[in-house]
Symmetry: C2
Amino acid sequence: MNKKTSLKDIAAHLGVSVALVSYVLNNKAEQARVGKEMAERIKQAAKDLNYQPNLIAKGLKSGRTKTIGLIVADISNPFFANIARVIEDEASKNGYTVIFGSSDEDAQKSMALTETLINRQVDGLIIAPAEHTQEQIENLQNRNIPIVLIDRYFPTLDTSAVYINNFGAAKSAVTHLIENGYSNVGMVTYQNQLFHVSERVRGYKAALEQRGIGFKEEWLIRANYHGAQNELEKHLKNILTGDDAVDALFFSNNSLAVACLKIIHQLGINVPDELGLVSFDGSEAFDFFYAPLTYVKQDISRIGAAAVQLLLKQFTPAHEPEKIEIPATLIVQKSSIRRR
Amino acid sequence: MNKKTSLKDIAAHLGVSVALVSYVLNNKAEQARVGKEMAERIKQAAKDLNYQPNLIAKGLKSGRTKTIGLIVADISNPFFANIARVIEDEASKNGYTVIFGSSDEDAQKSMALTETLINRQVDGLIIAPAEHTQEQIENLQNRNIPIVLIDRYFPTLDTSAVYINNFGAAKSAVTHLIENGYSNVGMVTYQNQLFHVSERVRGYKAALEQRGIGFKEEWLIRANYHGAQNELEKHLKNILTGDDAVDALFFSNNSLAVACLKIIHQLGINVPDELGLVSFDGSEAFDFFYAPLTYVKQDISRIGAAAVQLLLKQFTPAHEPEKIEIPATLIVQKSSIRRR
């Protein structure tokens, strides 16, 4: 293990008192009393012996460590990997370092990570909360730990949060499909109770209803987050055949879209003529598909920057929780425009 | 800021001594002396008041915080995002939490992150070192901080490291192109001095030489990591036209491959008939390109698992730095097999 150089080590090295070393290294020394030369010698010895000041202790005194903790739901999803990058850039501009972790959409892991980061004295947390973590978030609030939620939030909790209008974006996406001649629009989403997911489902259903299309329960695939590809394949085959077969699909996120796209491609189904597609969130993969995917684009740069700004606000004495809704855009590409 | 509940608060709340509270909460109390009922009351009060033990102080005593720091070079690159996920899974299996940061291929940022994580008392670090960080790594070694390097390493430093044979993998990839009838093979890489990159360039040149193909300096594009897409486009147009035009390209990583693929696609160049392609590392995007890309596959699961295991070894009393080379595989797809 790391044997750290202490003030005592430096004092012993120079044959002076620990108090003197401490005075000099903490910049408390009145130059007249310590003497310039001695101050220099102590600083040089600290350097030579690789003395590391205890930043956590310093942080406890000043109440700040200039560190932000970030908890994403799944770092292997490009949406979160890119948001992490943006938050880091924005934090860095403001003199903050970001340390982060991934909850893997697991409440237990989320709890462990949160406590790890808090015990590492982060000044505050930006969290994309996993399912079943409402209590954890509430608990953080009760402990007055500055937090900002991103991507998802709990409508019953008065927390600072940055998000998009998931209901509206989903409704627009599905309406776009209907306006382009598709009628039996299905949806593929994850089996969970997160607010942003249920809002997307609600938007999907509202679009169907507004256009007088009767929603059918079998059109809505709720995939298991940890589920296998062949389970998804079975669901898709069901929904794509038979009397009530869908002629379009709305994917509630990019990972699901990529997984389904592979299956659709293997089944030899022609996009967009036989099947229209729209996804939530982009993916590098979409641009290389022969019919590039239409998708709801979240402005990751704005979301990340707003999250950091809201957190910084909470470090000031008077602040109220604040919610910021960032507009989303539908990027229309070939996958949703029938050619015949 | 977070006003933490102290032992003193609990003691005041119950009207007992701080020492008694400390005894009970640190499990030092002999039940007979404290009494079961009082112990229960103290534990309940700690819960009610949301008392959080100072884990860093505990860690300092035991010499362990059960936390691993991970520094990747760029979290928005799927290679690192996936490695982060694997390391987290493997660490979790062994009872460790991972907190991580991204150096963004920047030595200064890397230094700040490293010190932040060390000051947060991580037990050790897994690092994909950015360029010009050799001194930082050497310094960590001198301070006896357990580290394992991944993806890249410094051949002159005796550190634990997990990596693949970059020279051999690059040589095989380029040889595969030559064996499939391509002769003027170009390479696109980043302008940097990292060992793994120079090894890939060396492997590329060795393959040409072994097959009697004279390497031309203009065939090797060294792109700026922070460079713009139009700069890359200019380079590619140059290399793809004229007397010495290339008929195949080897990309030294997946981000470069995706960026170039977009340009090649826009230029209307037919892959693999007019241009053969091989990349280092896969991407979800490759599978959706009309001619799926042949690529060098690194075994991310094995790399991540080996890195965690090597780090855990360093927490044991006697250990020597250890280097593990993980085999890489060439995944042959359509982009490198001419049809005529």
